[in-house]
Symmetry: C2
Subunit: 124 residues, 2 copies
DNA sequence: GGTGTCTTCAACCAAGTGGTTGAAGAACAG
DNA sequence: CTGTTCTTCAACCACTTGGTTGAAGACACC
């Protein structure tokens, strides 16, 4: 488990069962048995999923007698959101600049070698 | 390859090399060789990474002579952002309600602790 | 004490992943 | 046509992963 935190979070959410578990936990804490109930896999498999989510910092477990209630930790979402937003902003910024260049460019110019591909369009 | 789109996107970004490739592509399109240059892996390995990113819809490839410039598709980010924001909002909403319950209790301590863990679940 | 319930640990297995090397396609330069 | 360059395809390997079954820990209840 020597991956960086961001990789762990993305990897943890790459599984639909684990995403579903996270979604269910937004409505309240739950035990392993309760979480395993709606799926047709064994409780051990769900316990493994929870370990992945816990290693990623997405959930935490406390102790309540012999039960281990699972609790959602929403703060780790910020890690992803920050990464996503950062690069999306950069990408959109770049598209905006490219649009400006195209808009102010007279049609008899070809200043840069065409390693750039401005013609495919379809950029929203 | 038969995973749902959200799983493909999360899985694609779970690798630091692929995240780095995405980051580099925000500054402009690049060829496979250019992208492979800073890493000490073979070009074939980077080509595989690009296939994963392409299957996830994060990049697209065009044709420019014998080169295949790689282009970042920022729209797929929205898929992730929507999923994250949806459940984060639900989680925060639930915490807020929990906070209200705690606040109306007679013994109010520590109005805003940064990493508060207010109990493990509903009151028994 | 013993028994039952909830959870995890251990060993195992099929399938996937990230990496390699080697060969093959695709398109330009001579 | 012959090379050269850029890229991908194919086979292979070590390692991880998501699943199973079976046994063991932890704790309440009798």
């Amino acid at each position: 488990m020597s991956a960086d935190p961001l990789s762990r979070v993305f990897s943890a959410l790459a599984d639909p069962t684990r995403r579903d578990i996270v979604a269910r936990l937004t409505t309240g804490d739950a035990t392993v048995g309760e979480l395993a109930d709606p799926y047709d896999v064994t409780v051990q498999a769900v316990s493994k999923h929870l370990k992945v989510l816990e290693d990623a910092g997405l959930v935490s477990r406390t102790r309540d007698a012999q039960r281990r209630p699972v609790h959602l930790e929403a703060e780790v979402f910020d890690l992803m959101t920050r990464w996503i937003e950062r690069y999306r902003r950069q990408a959109e910024e770049r598209y905006r600049q490219l649009d400006d260049v195209l808009r102010t460019m007279p049609d008899d110019v070809e200043p840069t070698p065409p390693t750039d591909r401005p013609g495919t369009g379809a950029t929203p």
